[in-house]
């Protein structure tokens, strides 16, 4: 039995490997495009997954309303861009203001959601908070649907096609490269924030031991709020970028994007920030390969299959740590 399964496994891997190598040698440009497409996807996932993983790290809650915060970021940017566009403002100003408003609005929503839906349940069983999160997610979706529209809205890309990027545009578009570069910058800034600033250190300490953090004078509630705000800001940036990339949005885009980012966070090891970034890139690139080489219509099935596999074989994720308590 064991030999058969090993043989099957080896031949399976061999066949896929052979196929992959042949494809890559025959169409190297296509392979390259898929990698870049995967990186773009992964970048967006990473911007959302950060919020999941940071919140989980601090209060062990899967914030299912997080995808909606991302959607609200995209919606806000659309509204701001449309209004300012009608007024005939300069494009660069519109881009900056759209980002600023998206971030501010998303942060306000993230902050408020925590205060309303999670803070009162801080000492309740974890399941209660989780249900509250799902409720919040449905509420925000429906609220935006009723307040705006259930239809898809065209989102005119805020990011123009750069002239200087012309020679490379057939491999990766200006929007895609902007997404990747912006993500890298956001990651670096976030890394610096967490590693060196006062609030960053307080976040790490609170994530490791809330009671001890409180005993040292850290206001745990403020730290939790700050975590939601930071996570919402990165999600808002992701929302605006993806809207520029896809070209249309509606109230529902946060649902699937949120779930995918959640998968990415679990894949990388929920609670771990580098894990969320790594998991997002791995998920983005493997999704890109799967849709590019196999069946594009099974894209979402593939992502959820990955979730099932991780939960079965490595629930702690790629970089997740097994906490052992010292007595």
């Amino acid at each position: 039995m064991r030999w058969i399964s090993i043989l099957l496994g080896l031949s399976g891997t061999g066949a896929v490997g052979f196929f992959a190598v042949r494809e890559i040698i025959m169409y190297p440009m296509y392979f390259f495009e898929l990698v870049l497409g995967g990186l773009t996807r992964g970048s967006i996932y990473a911007l959302i997954a950060l919020g999941y993983t940071m919140v989980y790290g601090i209060i062990q809650l899967i914030n299912f309303a997080h995808g909606e915060i991302y959607m609200i970021g995209a919606m806000t940017a659309l509204i701001v861009a449309t209004v300012l566009g009608m007024w005939g403002w300069n494009t660069a100003v519109i881009v900056i203001l759209a980002f600023v408003f998206a971030i501010v609005y998303s942060c306000a929503y993230g902050f408020t959601v925590e205060k309303i839906a999670y803070k009162p349940l801080r000492n309740a069983p974890r399941l209660s908070a989780l249900i509250s999160a799902i409720g919040m997610s449905l509420f925000l979706q429906n609220y935006v649907m009723l307040a705006q529209t259930p239809d898809y809205l065209p989102f005119e890309s805020l990011i123009p096609d750069f002239q200087f990027w012309e020679p490379f545009a057939h491999i990766i578009t200006s929007v895609e490269i902007t997404i990747i570069i912006t993500t890298v910058i956001v990651m670096i800034l976030l890394g610096l924030l967490i590693k060196f600033t006062r609030i960053g250190k307080a976040m790490r300490a609170t994530a490791q031991d809330k009671v001890m953090a409180a005993l040292l004078g850290i206001n745990v509630n403020n730290v939790i709020s700050a975590t939601f705000v930071v996570g919402s800001a990165t999600a808002a940036i992701g929302g605006v970028l993806i809207a520029c990339h896809v070209g249309q949005i509606n109230f529902y885009i946060g649902f699937l994007a949120g779930l995918k980012a959640f998968i990415a966070a679990v894949l990388g090891g929920i609670g771990s920030i580098p894990g969320a970034v790594l998991g997002s890139l791995v998920l983005g690139i493997s999704e890109s390969f799967f849709t590019g080489y196999f069946w594009s219509e099974y894209e979402d099935v593939f992502a959820f299959a990955i979730l099932v596999l991780i939960l079965i074989f490595r629930p702690s994720g790629i970089l997740g740590r097994h906490d052992t308590q010292k007595v």
Partner: protein, 235 residues
Amino acid sequence: MLKLTNIHTYYGNIHALKGIDIEVAEGEVISLIGANGAGKSTTLMTTCGIVSPKKGTIELNGEDITYLPPDALVKKGICQVPEGRRIFPYLTVAENLDMGAFLRNDKDKIKQDLDYVYELFPILANRRNQAGGTLSGGEQQMLAISRALMSRPKILLLDEPSLGLAPIVVKQIFSIIEKINQESRTTIFIVEQNANLALKAAHRGYVMETGRITMTDTGKNLLANEDVKKAYLGI
């Protein structure tokens, strides 16, 4: 300086503290001894604002601090080294110490205090870039005390500093505790199961049983007391 009057604390339906009175004067070393589950740690957690009492008052230098949040209490100079040390395992030793000084802004004095704790526990200076979780139990206790000292406490609460440590390390820790009390006039409140050590180090002691204070006297007298000897010293 610290005065607990008729404190009642509950965990859900469990009546953990049943009206306790404790008074700690400035510059004193006080020991609170008692068996497992007597409510010693709860007393400290109530003092630090982690759990709120249902009845009673806590005063610091005459000011009512009963319902202040933990961070406000740290600002007022109450700092606890909790049971099990609770080092941040993934922060380095230096970062752990840094967290102790979280509420302070006086950079020069922080540096001075850092040098002071590295002098008290030279081993920590050698390990300053190591993750806290990789330290041995004794080193973690040293780090936990140092971290608390970094907040410049007026009163230092220690919960079972001897827990799980080798006798020689326990001795070292207690001698440092006495040194801290004498050198910087820091008031110290120790909760211990190791009654012998704790009472020897203390000016005064309290004995606690199932949520009540049953005895209080000077450390010396308690050590000589027949009931204490029988129940806590095993003599």
